[in-house]
C-alpha cells in the first residue's frame, strides 16, 4: 500500500536514512523500533510527505510517487500522529473538527463524528479546557482522535502511547486492531515495550539508517 | 461625463474649484481666511489653498498642480514667468521686512541707522542671528542686505535654521537672537514672543507679494478662468480694500499695491 525503496536522507551532512526500504500492506500492523536518534521519526516524516528524501522512491497503491511532488491523493489517504502533537489554541472540539472541515465534510456529519471522537477518547471532562493547558496524555488522546475522525487508509503513529495511562493504551491497541480489520495499514513507531499487547503485528528495527528484521539482541 | 464636459453656464466641480499654492505667511497670518470667503461667496468658487515654502509653491505651480500662485520672492517670480510657467504676474500687496531682536538689544542696532548697518553691528558684537537659510523670499532679502553690508562672513552666532518664518521667530526668541522677518508673520505672533521690532522703515525692506496665473498653454487642464477671476478680484478695488482692512491688534499687516489689471 505505502512503501519506500532505498530512501536516503541526511541532515547537515549526517546521513540519517541510508538506502532504507519499508513496505506496509493494507490491514497490516507494523511496529518499528530502534534506538533514540536512529531515524524512526525521520522515516515517518518522509512517508507522510513532510520531508523530501534525498534519494530513493516512495510508492502508494502500487504506483511510484514521481519526483515532482507528493500527491494530494496520497496525503488525503494518510494520517501521521507525531510524538508531541500540536493542538490549535482554539477548543478541543475545534481541534477534532479541523480536518473534517478541511476535507469539506458536511456539518451534520462533522458534528456526529466529532461527538463520537469526544466519546471515544473520553474527553468530556476536558472539552472546555484550553487545549494548550491539557495534560500530556490528554493531548495525545486528542491528536489520536483527530486523526481517527478522518478515517485514513494509512496511519503513521509515532510513539502513540508514550504518555498514555493503562486504559488509554489499551484503547489505542484496540484502535489499531480495529483499523487493521478495516484494511487500514498502520505503522507504529514504538519502543516495543509500549505495545507488547499488540498481537499479530510485524516487528521491524531501524538501525544504521536501514530497516531490518529485529534480532532479539538489538530489540528496543 | 459627457454632461460635465459640455460647455454651459453651470460650471462643473473642477471648474468651480481654484487651487492656489502660496507661502505659509499668507495662510498663517490669517489673511487668506479673511479674504477668500468674500470671494467664494460672491463668485461661487471654492478656493483650495496649499501653503508650503516659497520654492515648493512655485514648483507646484510649475508642475501644473495649482491654478495660480501667491508668493513673495521677486527674482524667483520673474524666473517663473520667464520660463513660461506663469503668466500675468501682478502686484497685489506688500508689507515690509523688519529686523527683530531682544528688548535689551545687546548689539545696539536700534540706533544703527540702516538695515545693513544693523547687520554689521550684530556681527561686530558677535550676537546671535537666526537666518531662514531656506532660499525663501525672506532669505533672499537677507542675502541682499548682507551684500549691501559688505558680504556675509559666518560667525558662530549665525545660525542657518532652514525652517519657516514662524519657527525661525520662535528660535530667535528662544535664543535671544536677532532675525529678519516679514511684518505680517511677526505681528500675528507677537503676543507669543519677547522680541521687538528694532529696525524698520528702511526703503530696502519692502516686501512685495505677487500673484501669478499658471500658464494654461503649458498646462491646458488648469482652471485659467477661475485663476483669472481670483486675480481680478484680489486686484480690484473691493479686494484691495479688503486686504487693507485685515488687521491684527488694530494694526494692518498688508498694504494694497495693485496697479489694476494689465
Amino acid at each position: 500500500m505505502l512503501a519506500a525503496h532505498d530512501v536516503a536522507l541526511a541532515y547537515a551532512g549526517r546521513a540519517v536514512l541510508d538506502a532504507c526500504s519499508i513496505e506496509i500492506a493494507p490491514g497490516e500492523a507494523l511496529v518499528l523500533s530502534g534506538e533514540n536518534g536512529s531515524g524512526k521519526t525521520t522515516l515517518l516524516r518522509v512517508l507522510a510527505g513532510l520531508e523530501r528524501p534525498d534519494a530513493g522512491r516512495l510508492w502508494f497503491d502500487g504506483a511510484p510517487i514521481e519526483a515532482g511532488s507528493f500527491p494530494r491523493a496520497v496525503r488525503r489517504a494518510l494520517q501521521y500522529v507525531p510524538t508531541h502533537p500540536y493542538l490549535f489554541s482554539t477548543s478541543v472540539r475545534a481541534n477534532l473538527d479541523y480536518g473534517l472541515r478541511a476535507h469539506r465534510i458536511d456539518p451534520d456529519e462533522r458534528r456526529r463524528r466529532t461527538n463520537a471522537a469526544i466519546e471515544w477518547a473520553r474527553l468530556q471532562p476536558v472539552v472546555d479546557t484550553p487545549p494548550q493547558q491539557l495534560s500530556a496524555g490528554e493531548k495525545q488522546r486528542i491528536a489520536t482522535a483527530r486523526a481517527w475522525v478522518l478515517a485514513p487508509r494509512v496511519v503513521l503513529f509515532d510513539e502513540p502511547t508514550s504518555n498514555l495511562d493503562r486504559a488509554s493504551r489499551a484503547q489505542v491497541v484496540a484502535l489499531i486492531s480495529e483499523l487493521c480489520a478495516g484494511h487500514t495499514a498502520v505503522l507504529i513507531v514504538a519502543h516495543d515495550r509500549e505495545l507488547i499487547e499488540l498481537a499479530g503485528a510485524r516487528r521491524l528495527n531501524l538501525a544504521h539508517g536501514r530497516v531490518q528484521a529485529p534480532d532479539a539482541h538489538a530489540e528496543n | 461625463f459627457a454632461q460635465a464636459l459640455k460647455p454651459g453656464t453651470e460650471r462643473t466641480a473642477t471648474e468651480r474649484t481654484i487651487r492656489m499654492a502660496t507661502t505659509t505667511s499668507t495662510e498663517n497670518s490669517g489673511l487668506l481666511g479673511w479674504l477668500l470667503p468674500a470671494f467664494e461667496q460672491k463668485y461661487g468658487y471654492t478656493v483650495r489653498v496649499v501653503s508650503v515654502g516659497t520654492g515648493a509653491a512655485l514648483k507646484i505651480g510649475a508642475n501644473g498642480d495649482a491654478d495660480l500662485v501667491l508668493v513673495h520672492a521677486r527674482a524667483a517670480e520673474e524666473q517663473f514667468v520667464a520660463s513660461g510657467f506663469g503668466i500675468d504676474r501682478r502686484d497685489v500687496m506688500f508689507n515690509d521686512f523688519v529686523i527683530v531682536g531682544p528688548k535689551t538689544d545687546p548689539a545696539g542696532i536700534r540706533t544703527a541707522g540702516s538695515a545693513a548697518a544693523s547687520l554689521k553691528s550684530i556681527v561686530a558684537m558677535q550676537q546671535r542671528f537666526v537666518s531662514r537659510g531656506d532660499d525663501s523670499g525672506t532669505h533672499q532679502m537677507e542675502l541682499a542686505l548682507w551684500r549691501v553690508a559688505g558680504g556675509l562672513s559666518k560667525w558662530p552666532g549665525y545660525l542657518a535654521a532652514g525652517r519657516g518664518m514662524g519657527e525661525v521667530l520662535t528660535m530667535a526668541d528662544e535664543l535671544r537672537g536677532y532675525t529678519l522677518t516679514d511684518r505680517g508673520t511677526f505681528s500675528s505672533m507677537r503676543s507669543k514672543l519677547d522680541l521687538v521690532v528694532l529696525v524698520e522703515g528702511d526703503r530696502s525692506l519692502s516686501n512685495p507679494y505677487g500673484i501669478i496665473a499658471v500658464n494654461p498653454v503649458r498646462h491646458p487642464h488648469v482652471n485659467a478662468q477661475g485663476a483669472r477671476a481670483l486675480m481680478d478680484w484680489m486686484t480690484s478695488p473691493e479686494g484691495q480694500r479688503r486686504i487693507a482692512s485685515f488687521q491684527i491688534d488694530g494694526q494692518s499687516l498688508f498694504f494694497p499695491s495693485a496697479t489694476g489689471p494689465r
Binding site: - | 496649499v50 501653503s51 501644473g64 498642480d65 498646462h219
Partner: protein, 241 residues
C-alpha cells in the same frame, strides 16, 4: 505655558462635536482606517510568506523590508507627488491634493511596519502549527489562515503599530494632501500648521485628541482579541529571588 486650558478646550470641542474639529478628525480617521483596511491583507501575506517560505533572495527582501522602515514619510510623499503631479505619469488621474492620494501614501507607509511585525510573529510561532494543519488536509491557504489565527495577538499589535504610524505621520500627508482646510487637513497636518504659527499649546491639544482617538481604536482592537494568550508565568511572589 499652560497646557491644561487648550487641552480641555480641545477635548471639550471634541465632545461637543465642534464641526471644525470633527472635520479634521474625520479626515484623519477616514484616511487612516481605509489605508489600513487596504494594506493589511497585503502586508500580512508578505510577512507570512517571508516567514514561512524559503526562496532565493528571501533574506535580502527581509533586510530591504526592515530598511523601508527608515524611509522618511516625506520622501514617500515626494515620490508619490512626482507620480501624481500633472506632469507625472499618473497626472491624468487628478489624485493630487485629495484624500485618495493620502490613502495611497499611508498604504505605502504602513506596509513595511505591518509586514515586519507579521514576519516576526509568524517566525516565532510553533513550527508544528503549519505542519499539523497541512497534515489534517488543509490547503496551503487554510493552513496559512490557521497560523495567522494562532498568532492573532501579535497581528493585532502589528495592525495597531501600523495605525499609530500612519495616523500620526505628517510628511507624506502634507506633500500629497496639501493640508487643504476642509478637504485634506488631518490631525497631524493641522498640528504642523499650529506649530508653524507658534500656537504650540493648540498643537499639543490636537495631539492629545489624536491620542484619545488612538486609545479608542486600540481598546476596540484589544477587545476583539479576547483574553490574549499571554505567557503563563510562575507566581513571582511565590518563586522569587
Amino acid at each position: 505655558m499652560d497646557l491644561l486650558e487648550p487641552t480641555r478646550d480641545a477635548l471639550y470641542r471634541l465632545a461637543s462635536l465642534d464641526p471644525a474639529l470633527w472635520q479634521i478628525v474625520a479626515v484623519s480617521m477616514r484616511v487612516s482606517l481605509i489605508a489600513l483596511a487596504l494594506v493589511t491583507p497585503l502586508a500580512v501575506v508578505t510577512g507570512f510568506a517571508l516567514a514561512m517560505y524559503r526562496f532565493p533572495g528571501r533574506r535580502l527582501l527581509i533586510v530591504l523590508l526592515q530598511s523601508l522602515l527608515a524611509f522618511p514619510t516625506v520622501v514617500i510623499g515626494l515620490l508619490l507627488y512626482l507620480l501624481l503631479s500633472r506632469r507625472g505619469p499618473l497626472g491624468a488621474w487628478q489624485l493630487l491634493f485629495t484624500q485618495e492620494a493620502m490613502i495611497v501614501g499611508q498604504v505605502i507607509i504602513a506596509f513595511p511596519i505591518i509586514s515586519a511585525f507579521t514576519l516576526a510573529a509568524v517566525q516565532a510561532a510553533d513550527p508544528r502549527l503549519h505542519e499539523t494543519a497541512r497534515l489534517l488536509g488543509a490547503t496551503e491557504l487554510r493552513a496559512a489562515l490557521s497560523v495567522l489565527r494562532e498568532v492573532r495577538f501579535a497581528l493585532i499589535a502589528a495592525v495597531t503599530s501600523g495605525f499609530g504610524r500612519v495616523v500620526s505621520e505628517v510628511g507624506c500627508a502634507l506633500m500629497v494632501g496639501g493640508n487643504i482646510a476642509g478637504l485634506t487637513r488631518n490631525i497631524p497636518t493641522a498640528i504642523a500648521l499650529e506649530t508653524s504659527k507658534g500656537a504650540f499649546t493648540e498643537g499639543i491639544a490636537l495631539g492629545i485628541v489624536l491620542m484619545v482617538l488612538a486609545l479608542a481604536v486600540n481598546v476596540v482592537l484589544a477587545l476583539t482579541q479576547g483574553g490574549g494568550r499571554g505567557t503563563p508565568s510562575i507566581d513571582a511572589a511565590w518563586y522569587r529571588g
